[in-house]
């Protein structure tokens, strides 16, 4: 499968501080790749290097097969959408006027504005002046702007950090639509539920290095303790090993009609992150 991003041995130093060291990963075309880690772990630095806003100290970063530093050309910019924590909007203009500017810059018809505003549930507010918007609405407008031009590759830095659950769901639905259309999404987040919901593969970043990289399902299985929890009719819970002894115990509970529910004891991505890094996400 074609790789859209290829990073090898990437390192970034700020003065004497190491932001990234020996980071390597590949992002395949059409996948949603999650870059997970606590604040200050190097997520935003990676996005900035991959979007030519920052030069790496060492290593290689290729996007669409060209060095990330070459992405300043218009033909590449048209393929990329970026949402970072410092994506600004023109506060004296309306939502519509803000998006119209970007339609013109990306040579996209203005009819696209209503489509993206539908995706972020803001169509009715398009005449509102940006300075009057709530933090959540601002976040949704900047998101709408990021995928206004139907980019092939979308960088999202904490895309739902300021959103309530209803609007978060709207965004997830919009991102799923983009994924169905073949958009590759590079997502940074410290929200493990978001990563589980959206990502095909995730990388755990901690103190500038990747500690784990795989699909959420594979990671959960890898770190599972291979036991099952059986909830019994009397309200008690029994933990059963997967094996002949566990099968016999399960048979006994079931034949006595005591079983209310059974579930496997897989860890969440958050549990795995804490186990691997010894750090909590914040």
């Amino acid at each position: 499968m074609e790789n859209i991003i290829e990073v090898t041995g990437l390192a970034k130093m700020f003065a004497n501080q190491t932001a990234l060291k020996d980071v390597s990963f590949k992002v395949r075309k059409g996948e949603t790749f999650g870059f997970l880690g606590p604040s200050g772990s190097g997520k935003t630095t990676t996005i900035k290097i991959l979007t030519a806003q920052l030069a790496q100290t060492d290593g290689d970063a290729y996007v669409f097969g060209v060095p990330a530093s070459k992405l300043k050309e218009a033909r590449y910019r048209k393929k990329i959408g970026v949402l970072t924590d410092n994506s600004g909007l023109y506060t004296r203009l309306t939502i519509y006027d803000n998006l119209k500017l970007y339609c013109d810059l990306y040579e996209v018809p203005h009819t696209r504005i209503d489509e993206v505003l539908d995706m972020v549930n803001l169509r009715d507010a398009k005449k509102k002046v940006v300075s009057k918007l709530s933090k959540g609405m601002l976040q949704r407008v900047t998101l709408a702007r990021a995928f206004l031009h139907k980019p092939e590759l979308l960088f999202l830095d904490e895309p739902t950090s300021a959103l309530d659950p209803v609007n978060t769901k709207h965004i997830y639905k919009g991102l799923e639509n983009l994924k169905e259309q073949g958009t590759t999404i590079f997502l940074t987040t410290h929200d493990m539920n978001e990563a589980e919901t959206l990502c095909d593969r995730v990388a755990f970043l901690n103190e500038g290095t990747i500690q784990l990289l795989d699909s959420p399902k594979a990671l959960r299985q890898k770190f599972a303790d291979h036991t099952l929890t059986v909830e019994l009719a009397d309200g008690s819970k029994e933990i059963i090993d997967r094996g002949p002894e566990g099968a016999q115990a399960m048979y006994n509970y079931m034949s006595e009609n005591k079983v209310v529910s059974i579930y496997s004891n897989e860890p969440t991505l958050g549990d795995i992150f804490v186990e691997v890094t010894g750090r909590k996400l914040s």
Binding site: K48, T51, A52, Q53, L54, A55, K72, A74, R75, R77, K78, I80, V82, N86, S87, G88, L89, Y90, T91, R92, L93, D97, K100, L101, Y102, D104, L105, Y106, E107, R145
Partner: protein
């Protein structure tokens, strides 16, 4: 490299809509006009008096408005959005300069009307005014790129307003302080010198040296613009 007029005009239209609601910056456009109206009533007799208003217009409209527009883009993190778009450096800076350029030319034309300035050679003066406007827009762009907020830009530009509005007067004291003779080579002094020559019948070829000096200032400031802009593209 392809230059997109559409992208340039989109940035210009955005700036136009934005500045109409930005009273802090847009009110500065009125100051030279008020001064021109006052001078017009009092009666302007010398070229130097006309050009005091014109040089103030360059500083307040071309340089200050441009500086504020760029500084605000930086303050609100919107410049990064433009830089990450397909718009090239030339399209972004061209689009952002167009409003200051049109504003400056309009204010100068109205001021000239109010003060009843009638140049002997309109072509030479027009070229000189356009070149000077381009220089001051470059100056405003550099200062805007180097500052972090509109407030900071408003302070940083003050000495430049002083130097480029009234700096030509320093040459009056050049006999006493020879170092002040250097002020003759400033673009504002050159413009006044050129305008005085034109009023005595000089043509385009007679004032080539003044043009050359103003052009040198334009070249230097735009080299600085490109260097600073490229630096600002990266964190």
């Amino acid at each position: 490299m392809i230059f997109s007029v559409k992208r340039t005009m989109a940035i210009f239209q955005k700036d136009y809509k934005d500045i109409l609601k930005n009273y802090f910056v847009s009110s500065s456009v009125l100051m030279p006009l008020v001064l021109a109206a006052l001078y017009g009533r009092m009666g302007v007799e010398t070229v130097n008096e006309h050009y005091l208003i014109f040089n103030m217009t360059f500083c307040l409209v071309a340089a200050y408005v441009q500086c504020s527009l760029i500084a605000e883009e930086k303050e609100k993190n919107t410049l990064r959005g433009l830089m990450l778009s397909p718009a090239s450096t030339l399209e972004i800076l061209g689009g952002k300069s167009l409003l200051s350029f049109i504003g400056t030319i309009l204010v100068i034309v109205i001021s000239a009307f109010l003060t009843e300035y009638k140049p002997e050679n309109i072509l030479v003066i027009s070229i000189a005014i356009v070149l000077s406007t381009v220089f001051y827009i470059g100056l405003g762009t550099v200062l805007g790129l180097m500052t972090k907020s509109v407030m900071e830009a408003s302070v940083v530009i003050l000495p430049f307003i002083g130097i480029f509005s009234f700096g030509s007067m320093l040459t009056y004291f050049a006999d006493k302080f020879p170092i002040l003779k250097a002020a003759e080579y400033m673009p504002n002094s050159q413009l006044i010198n050129l305008a005085n020559q034109v009023q005595t019948g000089a043509g385009l070829l007679d004032v080539w040296f003044n043009f050359a000096i103003i052009l040198a200032w334009v070249a230097v400031i735009y080299v600085i613009v490109v260097i600073v802009y490229r630096k600002r593209m990266m964190d």
